[in-house]
Symmetry: D2
Subunit: 386 residues, 4 copies
Amino acid sequence: MRELNVGMIGYKFMGKAHSNAYARVNMFFDADMQVNRKVICGRDEAGVKAAMDKFGWQDYETDWRKMIARPDVDVVDINSPSYLHKEMAIAAANEGKHILCEKPLAFSTADAREIVEAANKAGIKHQVGFNYRFAPAIVLAKQMIESGRLGKIFHFRGSYLQDYIISPDYPKVWRLDKSVAGSGSLGDLGAHVIDCARYLVGEIDRVVGMEKTFITERPIAASMTGVSATAQANSPRETVDVDDATHFLGEFKNGALLSIEATRFAAGHRNDMSFEINGSKGSIKFNLERICELQYYNAEAEEGFQGFTTISVTEGTHPYVYAWWPAGHVYGYEHTMVHEVFEFVQAIANDKPASPDFNDGLKCAQVMEAVDLSAQRGAWVEVDSL
Amino acid sequence: MRELNVGMIGYKFMGKAHSNAYARVNMFFDADMQVNRKVICGRDEAGVKAAMDKFGWQDYETDWRKMIARPDVDVVDINSPSYLHKEMAIAAANEGKHILCEKPLAFSTADAREIVEAANKAGIKHQVGFNYRFAPAIVLAKQMIESGRLGKIFHFRGSYLQDYIISPDYPKVWRLDKSVAGSGSLGDLGAHVIDCARYLVGEIDRVVGMEKTFITERPIAASMTGVSATAQANSPRETVDVDDATHFLGEFKNGALLSIEATRFAAGHRNDMSFEINGSKGSIKFNLERICELQYYNAEAEEGFQGFTTISVTEGTHPYVYAWWPAGHVYGYEHTMVHEVFEFVQAIANDKPASPDFNDGLKCAQVMEAVDLSAQRGAWVEVDSL
Amino acid sequence: MRELNVGMIGYKFMGKAHSNAYARVNMFFDADMQVNRKVICGRDEAGVKAAMDKFGWQDYETDWRKMIARPDVDVVDINSPSYLHKEMAIAAANEGKHILCEKPLAFSTADAREIVEAANKAGIKHQVGFNYRFAPAIVLAKQMIESGRLGKIFHFRGSYLQDYIISPDYPKVWRLDKSVAGSGSLGDLGAHVIDCARYLVGEIDRVVGMEKTFITERPIAASMTGVSATAQANSPRETVDVDDATHFLGEFKNGALLSIEATRFAAGHRNDMSFEINGSKGSIKFNLERICELQYYNAEAEEGFQGFTTISVTEGTHPYVYAWWPAGHVYGYEHTMVHEVFEFVQAIANDKPASPDFNDGLKCAQVMEAVDLSAQRGAWVEVDSL
Amino acid sequence: MRELNVGMIGYKFMGKAHSNAYARVNMFFDADMQVNRKVICGRDEAGVKAAMDKFGWQDYETDWRKMIARPDVDVVDINSPSYLHKEMAIAAANEGKHILCEKPLAFSTADAREIVEAANKAGIKHQVGFNYRFAPAIVLAKQMIESGRLGKIFHFRGSYLQDYIISPDYPKVWRLDKSVAGSGSLGDLGAHVIDCARYLVGEIDRVVGMEKTFITERPIAASMTGVSATAQANSPRETVDVDDATHFLGEFKNGALLSIEATRFAAGHRNDMSFEINGSKGSIKFNLERICELQYYNAEAEEGFQGFTTISVTEGTHPYVYAWWPAGHVYGYEHTMVHEVFEFVQAIANDKPASPDFNDGLKCAQVMEAVDLSAQRGAWVEVDSL
């Protein structure tokens, strides 16, 4: 079987999740290429060496420019801090490497356009890490909408709720630093919901929103693991320059209404992305913390027997599930990334466009920029104006 | 025991629910006055007579002006179609009668102000029919917030979702006629959520919203029972001039963020008012279709054992529950109205202000007018500017 | 309209619930007779007078024999402590009065047979207070099973879980005294589940079970309200002679399997009667604390879209719901008793058999006696052998 | 790091799940040995070679006796059809190999005793595949019970419900053949619940139960994948000699009551193992299809705020979770096996007893045999009598 050598930049949370995906894709799916975990790259040599051993990579680099230039690397996987995405993606494209880039693709519409152009010029395969598109329940939702099961769509209401920064003593970690993360709740959380909205319902026409920073000063961070972090002892407080919460309304081009909220101040919600879609023939509800379930209301069901049905999306006929376990045996978060990688490998192997690609990253950036502008102006903004 | 004679205008859905409340209040609560169902009033003599017999009233009238003038009427209960509320309330106040008026109090801030002035001038007790304030779970929520259990509030997100007008063949009933109902989803459904938001979190500072009429033409109605309706045969289509869905964002004066959605196009939701409140110390969730339950997340619970707790608000220590059944024996929708009437009777009997009163009706009207204006202007509107 | 005069023995929890039912039946249902709350009867004159006023009865008696003999009483409602049921029911039958008797009808199969014989001989209408048969969701379940929606039934598993006597300091109230209550968890709680099993699935052929008293000695009770109770100060401990928990397995005559558990030691369950029925074409689940909901699994639904559907049994087409509120407006515990009384009134008015009648009380007593015997013998017992 | 070479017999559902576990254990956990997928063994050469490639094993064998004798094999993993477990386990023990054997360990108490003796004599490490003991929520439950959070235990009620053989046309696959599977629902499903009961509450003293075969004749199987199967065309019907459903009651040695049901006839339940435990200080509920959640009722929580709390067992402080993802990122079924393998590796590496070991397999066999006997005799059976 043809082999596909991956070079990956980043080895923390996302690096671990992607490593797992590369390790498992051929074990569970009949991919048309054999994926090799070739080179892992990070600035801290001790750290990246340990990650290489732990996650089963063959080699490591500490200089990403050197890594992307290696002839034994076919695919560059970018899961470094967000502010580096643009530079790395353009450089990798220029090297002619296929790219899987974590979201957000870029901090602005303008930057995203540059990346798309570089990728197009290079003729590479490119994909952006909207991994929830690969949750079986969300693919099922997509199939249901496309086949007309929900009829004409009226409402999409989605939210991504977390709660790990509510304490004023939680430090200003990199995710709260605009120069590194680009954005707060909107870019980190809202981006996933925007992508789901676009994937499932269509392009967004216009938005109006608000952004809020509840805690405007925080101590300096000493360390961070996952989302846990400690502050430096007796740290002075620095200004937080990203949004703690963002909420916007909007209208799709097809006339459906939209509401998307992203917040890190919703006590009790650890990682709760959820959405509901209402159409003329039915509704669906999804909740990431019950990733194997889809709630479905069929308005055409027999009168007196209507109601939301909890579908366990674990049947062999459900998307991707055939590769895993029998019905009722649940899967988890990281499975989305195995599916994501599988589809990217198939796109490369069969020379077909990957999806979601950098254009989807650009479209998402446009919506986010429109939301930012709207919050500044206090008025509606057309997405296509950006 | 002192007696309190009620004269009620309206005998359909609300008239039935209020009749039940008057019939049950002394049976379950130790109210300080004995309530008599004295006179029921409606335009259709056959209809109102039948209602009198069915609902246990002593007398009837077909002319509301005559009814409110009767010396044997102490309290006027107004649950007629909304466009009549203003005229009736002012007239009843001028007669010196205490008033329980269904929501919406009025179609505009200006009208609501006139009613408040008339009531204040008359020195009567007045209450507006925001009956969900009397759901035990919502009173419990209020107590929890007031005692600091949720800490500083960051978010209120509420919605009232229904689905009975999704079909384009559902006729233009009175609730879809602006001249009769004043407003669509916003006034009918959103008003309840606005009142809960104000009751639980505080006054709203500013809003931005959108309104949408998905189906702009409908056949003429032949009949309506509850929310079921039939169209006239071969009816021409008339223009619908109210909102099918309204969604707005906002900020409370205390800095918390707000989202309220009201729609009649959410398939699968028959009568689903729900809200969630997130604070620094915890969160709560409420859902009207599970009226006896309150979800509570205590952020100060022991680490590793946190999560949303489903409180069955059926303990003897919970608000109003002592009057009903032992723990775990559930109550329903109409119980809110028994509590509502009980509190109104107590206010009259003890010469204390009723709550929520016409000022609450006015405040709600202000918010709704701000939302309407915002939707027209495409920009934020300050509530106090109205 | 013809009138029906009720004389009721008992004025505590059940007396209040029945009073409410009589007060509401004509207000919501088009019953063929007008029900009058004629006489309420209790041993304590002050108590029964207060109940008369509170619950709206016209007269009272302190001697039940005198009451049942009154010519102005048509129906005798027996909700006194269980040990009195037999004597009262036979006496009332002998007076030719129709009887609504709370469960358990009797403490033994032999006693129940005597009561049935007296009732048959008198030719009266008789009904036993298995009020959950009148929960709309359970009637819907019955309709579904009868129309073949569940196919051939394989399993009925039901339980009635409470938790109010877990503390060893909870006193020995009348419900824990065999001479007064007849039985513990089995007769108080299990009886309801047995009746549901029989109503929905059919007659029970044989059973094997166990009974347990976890706390064998308790202080003497000073007072009891609902299920709350206080012990006498420095009370000696008396032996508890009823079962704290009973669990039995069995087989229906139609071959389906059966499991019924009743316990007062299930922490967190205040009043949780629930059951699930599995058939070849589908399953249903019911839970009393969510009385308005029925979970339905349709095994013949489209592949990939199967799952349990939460039906809100609040549609106008659902049993009894037409009389109440629009869809999505929930009802509660006491509504079952309004329906129960309605059906009893209709049986009397139209000279048709009431249901569930004393024969159902007898059948239930047979099953309970079989369970008791099985627990003593440690072996299976045929129900019909008793 | 020291290496541990595994030789595995079986390559279907369990073989795939175990392969995944061996592949992931060192990637996520800091195990004290490096696990090598050395040899995979199966009778069909083409099949086992394909599995070797797919699941990343280094070599294969078609003769299990040859495989267990290989000096480069340290651990033998037995997930062949159940009837072979005894012979293989004893042979592997005699070769001095550590053994991880799938459940059921054996078909009878006598057989299980022989295996235990062989293992003890050989002085090897042995573990039995009760993988649900390694679900984080179940380990958390264990910790809660051991630390006294639930107080004295009164009830364990568990069930394992499936529905894939309801159709009479589903063929007689190996799981329905006593000579191959040993038992039906009891050994396949009930065994898991028995193990949870023993793990969490303690040893079982006595049981009484029933077994039922609803469909007594089925066509011959043509093929089976997971639990899906097809019948041979025009197949005659063979007698089914295992139980479709088994349900038994019992008492633990500590006095708590027990109910365990296993059935393949519960429509709507694909893989639903669930249990609830009630104690004097609280209760817990678990459901395998929501494997990341544990419901906890704390009877000592503040009055008025009690209720079942849904704990998302995804915090870094929860058992095993630290190795995976941040809070709220869910895991699935196969993670239990990674934990299972991790613990087995640690037992070997550190020369400590593995758990659950073959003695647990024996204890489970004792309970199952007691249930079988009870069903035959129609009476209670003491577990220790076997």
